[in-house]
Amino acid sequence: MPSAVDRLAVRGAGQLAGRLRDAAAAAFVTLVLALPLVGLRTVDQGGALVLETRWDWVAIGVAAVFVGRLALGLFAHLRLRVPRVVPRVAQGVAMPWLAWAVAGFAVALPFLPFADRYVIDLGTTLLIYVMLGWGLNVVVGLAGLLDLGYVAFYAVGAYAYALLALNFSLSFWICLPLAGLLAALFGIALGFPVLRLRGDYLAIVTLGFGEMVRIILINWQSLTNGPNGLPSIPRPSFFGLPFERAPAEGTTSFHQFFGLDFAPEHRLIFLYLLILALALLTNVFVLRLRRLPLGRAWEALREDEIACRALGINPTNVKLSAFAIGAMLGGFAGAFFATRQGFISPESFTFIESATIVAIVVLGGMGSQIGVVLAAAFLVLLPEIGREFAQFRMLVFGLAMILIMIWRPQGLLGHREPTVRLGRAAAPRP
């Protein structure tokens, strides 16, 4: 009669065989994919294209996947333990504290000793994505409408700003609301035809919409200058004071007015604080909306459209408002992007941008505002940190995404904050 230990050993061996099979299957898939993708390479040799093979790379990849998959299977129980570290923060207990801390740090950042040009520039990029994430959060996180073409509104905002500023010499503060308005109109234009669609179908149509806008931008040469883009977009001024070393005749520049020495950082810091203010405004705006009947209707629509109809809600208006407001916020971000870059071209508005913004919302935990910040930080900063291993950047990126989806399938902060507590108006949340 086999002892308990024997039985355990037998079961262990059976499990091991299963894991090996599983790892072999994963390795096989890798092999099939890697043979053409990694194994073959075209190189330019004296004007002629030559095929080069890299079987050793394929072998390394297949072996790595085999070992990795096996390790993942054998140490599957670790999955249960590791996540406790992240969610501690994520459970919502420390949330107000966390949000205020992040906001405080963001305001102080440009004045900290280590904040050089690079850091401020990176912070500005990060904040653009945070703002885009918050905008898309209205559509995807709150209203539950999967929009894969969000970059279209970003592009509309950017081009609207650039064209208005270049052709009519309007100031940033006039162009900004106009750009948002135009983007909102595009949001409604997209919203109408897709009212009846949900889920996958909606995702496909919105994806197509995003591409359409980009292709129109490329081909409408007379208006958008096509693939060459729009150069020398006016930079923002500090309420009429330009950031220039030698301002035009009759104008005072920022450093002259405040009696400072000219420093190129001034404009960078101003841009940083500008997008920070825009992002914080967006956040407050969305948080307020969430507590109004409209915001609550978005969430209810995400949960159960039929119940919403039965409660007398007009789903058409609710959906269109989500598209319009989401698009408007994207348009603001686009306008800022244009003025910051000084140059825009359709290349800045490819599908990968939409995908990144969706990833920020999903990783953040659909509907969570602070989750968006963490996810944006993760997605924007990680590639920067990985810059030294430029070749492996996307690899590390993909790996990190997979790990997050294993540990936090509901997103970093997949915890929905109620909009009302204990019968009185909810305590304000940053």
């Binding site: 009947p293 609550r296 209707a297 969430e299 209810a300 949960e303 159960d304 039929i306 119940a307 919403c308 109809r309 039965a310 409660l311 007398g312 809600i313 007009n314 789903p315 929905r416 109620p418 909009t419 009302v420 507590r421 204990l422 019968g423």
Partner: protein
């Protein structure tokens, strides 16, 4: 208050309602019983405009509401507690109730009064107000669904199988509350499998089979009818002992 004449409804090629005539007078509780698939839920949904009736007239307060969009119908004062409750699972009890007020008066004072009424009818909801809808028990979810429908102060309340899947004690409580709601001035059209409770509570009742109304009468008369007893009482929902 509500009058249907010759109402037909289709799901694609399937004809779920084949000429329904029905009337609900102001202040009444009317029960509708019938076997599975008879078309009871379809009837309530058709009154609310989804599906749109393919023929016939639906008069509410004398105006034909057939063909109006659902939200328009609901805003005229009809609320439905749909089959399967359909509460918003990730939203709290309080948020669910606030959603219910969407079709009615949404001022803060009206909202507060609505909440007060809801909590008076179902005290357990007051205890659970910050709990997420999806984590409520089946009975609590049913109570929430009813309370949510009442938030807009409807004049006509449509209830689809409120006793489904509930323990006898809770069923009794729910039916009591339906009586209270009615006495407070709301007209009720109640679809039920639990024929005994429904017909005892109702002033009048209808029996539906295969998309048609096949019998009607006062609640007591239907309860006493041998055919109704054979089809809906003897085999299925027996009166509980001592009830």
């Amino acid at each position: 208050m509500l009058a249907l004449t010759g109402v037909h409804a289709h799901y694609g090629p399937i004809e779920a309602l084949r000429g329904v005539d029905l009337e609900v007078a102001h202040g009444e509780i009317v029960a509708m019983i019938g076997a599975n698939g008879a078309g009871k839920s379809t009837l309530l949904m058709t009154i609310c405009g989804a599906p749109v009736p393919s023929a016939g007239r639906i008069l509410f307060d004398g105006a034909d509401i057939a063909g109006l969009p659902t939200f328009e119908i609901v805003r005229r004062g009809i609320a439905q507690v749909p089959e399967g409750r359909r509460i918003f699972p990730r939203m709290t009890v309080l948020e669910n109730l606030q959603m219910g007020a969407a079709a009615g008066d949404a001022t803060p004072s009206a909202l507060a009064a609505g909440l007060e009424r809801a909590f008076a009818l179902f005290p357990v909801l007051a205890e659970r107000r910050t709990q997420r809808g999806g984590t409520l028990s089946g009975g609590e979810q049913q109570m929430l669904s009813i309370a949510r429908a009442l938030m807009a102060r409807p004049r006509l309340l449509l209830l689809d199988e409120p006793s489904l899947g509930l323990a006898p004690m809770v069923v009794k409580q729910i039916f009591q509350v339906i009586g209270e709601i009615n006495r407070a001035g709301t007209t009720v059209l109640l679809v039920e499998q639990n024929a005994y409770h429904a017909l005892r509570l109702a002033h009048r009742g209808y029996v539906m089979a295969q998309g048609r109304v096949v019998m009607s009468g006062s609640g007591a008369a239907l309860l006493a009818d041998p055919d109704v007893r054979a089809a809906y009482l003897e085999g299925g929902a027996k009166p509980p002992p001592g009830a």
